[in-house]
Amino acid sequence: MNLFTIASRSIRQRLLSSSLTMLSMAMGVTLVVAVLAIFGVVQKSFDANATLGYNVVVGAKGGKLQLTLNSVFYLSQPIENVPYEYYLEFKTQEFRFQEYQGSYSFKAIRQQHATRQTLAISTLGSSGPLGGLLGLVADATLQNEMDTMFPWNRPGKYKAYTNFVIPLCLGDYFGPYRVVGTTPDMFNLLRHGSAADDPYAMQGNGRNIEDFSEQHGYFEAVVGSVVARDRDVKLGDKINPSHGSEEGDSHATEFTVVGILEPTGTPNDRAVFINMEGFYRMSDHAKPLENEDPYGADQQGHKITDSDYRLPVEKREVTAMLVNMDPIFSVGVENAINEGPAAQAVYPVLEIRRLLDVFVTPVKVLLLVLTVMICVVSGLSILISIYNSMNERRGEIAVLRALGARRLTVYGIVSLESLILSVAGGLFGFLIGHGLIAMSSPFVEARTGVRLGFFDFAPPLPIAIPYLNQLSPEILLIPGLVILAVVVGFIPAYSAYRTDVAKSLGK
């Protein structure tokens, strides 16, 4: 018969009192597990946002945080737009050439070119060989300029350092959710998850928007999982963005939902993505120009199909660009952009971290303080319970002493009782806590995108203690409970140690 048997029998003898004490500890640990789980959700949400899949956001000059908020989280109001040409500075020469084809500048140069050619030919006919030669030289010079100087003949300035860039056009809403005009690259190239390697997946038979589809033209939409659930959006539904705000007038333009995102835990769950060209086609979205029709009635950009043209570059703007850039060059590119007059580049993760440091870190500290307080209260309940039982147990302890148990032995028995109550209560609380976490998982996942399972442990705490900051605090809960039991068991155990055998012993 060992001390454990004696201690556990003593616990069993006071089954109701012991059960309530254990329950108190279990509730305490359940709360601790819940608090740590909340902490974990906050942490995982942050981690999901800390690896955005891009490292630089480019937008109009203004507040860095504002640019980050409205381009990463779709919060706050967009600062301003930047010309579409800025977006093209991150693209290949081929893409730029295609995009510039319908531009007014491209047309102007083409028209000048044609005029000069006509002029040269007529000069050759009327002014003799010299005049004609001069005309041809001028034409050759123009051609040379077109080849070397004009933007469609070179790759974007930042293309060499850019892996991919995703344009965002903001300003409209679908209910309370932001409508984002973008390109198919948004979900073709962008990745999410803690390692930024999870592709965006569509629910059911959904698909990404296309640049131009035969079926819906430029008017396709992909809806985030939260939006779809909240607004009961299904594939094939038509949605009309409202202009400027949630209460704004709805555009007449309809977009067909072709995809619904699987939950990702990113702000993209809470947004609607439409084709950027479709975005421009909504009323008042294309950039108004001073001379709206400089080259006749043809305002169309380059031709897509016989009946579809893209708007000319000059009439297009972007609110922000999400740039996945080679980190080696990102600082230089950021400086170059920020030194220019048109745009600013920010590191969104840096801005998010600053923001979270202001708001989330105090919450984390609060949660930790709460956790410690819960542990202390639970520990005190054990102390009070065992201590209160000491009076009725003094006779038993005296008997043990009379039978030859040493003082340290009875000290050990009472400490062991405290330990059993703490650890058993703790394990029970652990099971309840994780059960609750598993049960709440669908709810949490729907709102944060963070998946929680029964065996998901809280992430390490941000403490500056080596090794400990590598372990889940739930692992630390076990030695923590043992230490707590020893500490709170000390007073009743010492009381047992000090028991006056002669006085406490029934005759």
Partner: protein, 228 residues
């Protein structure tokens, strides 16, 4: 085997006043000898047993157990010595309610040797007539049965001295004799010296040596007066 000389014990009362309770010039018990100590309530009988068992320390004098001066031992050593050399039967049995009869007997072994002998514990229960009650807890047993378990527990470590403090006081008359017989016979069987405290002459008269505490304790009359 047991030799007490000039034992003095004084209690300090709550107000700070001292109350001399024992002053025993000489008291001896030979190995295997059975002694009955009689005296009125409050005379210091239990205090004397506690002193011998080392549960309380004496103020002065000597308690020699086979020549070993128990009064010089530390608390820890007295606990250990008591566990291995003495058995104790209380008036109120003092069985632990969470344990079965067998476990109560084994509990007596646990603190002496660090290990228990289930077979011997069961044998002791058989000896006290509780062969079929070993799995029962005290609350499920009669007072007579409980005291039998207490006797078995006191014998569990094969002690050399058994201290029995009014072991029949709480037992109905029908069971009293069987408990006395059990203690008496067990001590004879295992060659255990016995000091049995009682205030019942019917019990005392069954033993060959009867000591009156008033005769050996010079303060008995005074202590009795003060307590009453």
């Amino acid at each position: 085997m047991l030799s007490i000389a000039n034992l003095k014990k004084t209690f300090t009362q709550p107000g700070g006043a001292t109350l001399p309770i024992l002053d025993i010039p000489k008291f001896e018990v030979a190995a295997g000898e059975q002694v009955v100590l009689i005296g009125r309530s409050g005379g210091g009988k239990t205090t004397l047993l506690h002193n011998i068992a080392g549960i309380t320390k004496i103020d002065s004098g000597k308690i020699l157990f086979d020549g070993l001066p128990l009064q010089t031992l530390s608390q820890e050593m007295r606990d250990r010595f008591r566990a291995t050399n003495m058995g104790y039967v209380f008036q109120t049995f003092n069985l632990l309610p969470a344990f079965t009869a067998l476990e109560n007997v084994m509990l007596g072994m646990a603190f002496a040797k660090g290990k228990t002998d289930r077979g011997f514990a069961q044998k002791l229960l058989d000896r006290v007539g509780l062969k079929d009650r070993s799995g029962h807890r005290p609350a499920m047993m009669s007072v007579g049965e409980q005291q039998r378990v207490a006797v078995a527990r006191a014998l569990a470590n094969r002690p050399r001295l058994l201290l029995a403090d009014e072991p029949t006081a709480n037992i109905d008359p029908a069971n009293q004799q069987s408990i006395v017989d059990l203690i008496k016979e067990s001590c004879e069987e295992f060659n255990i010296a016995l000091i049995l405290v009682t205030h019942t002459m019917e019990v005392a008269n069954q033993f060959s040596r009867i000591d009156r505490l008033d005769d050996i304790n010079q303060l008995a009359a005074r202590a009795e007066e003060a307590i009453s």
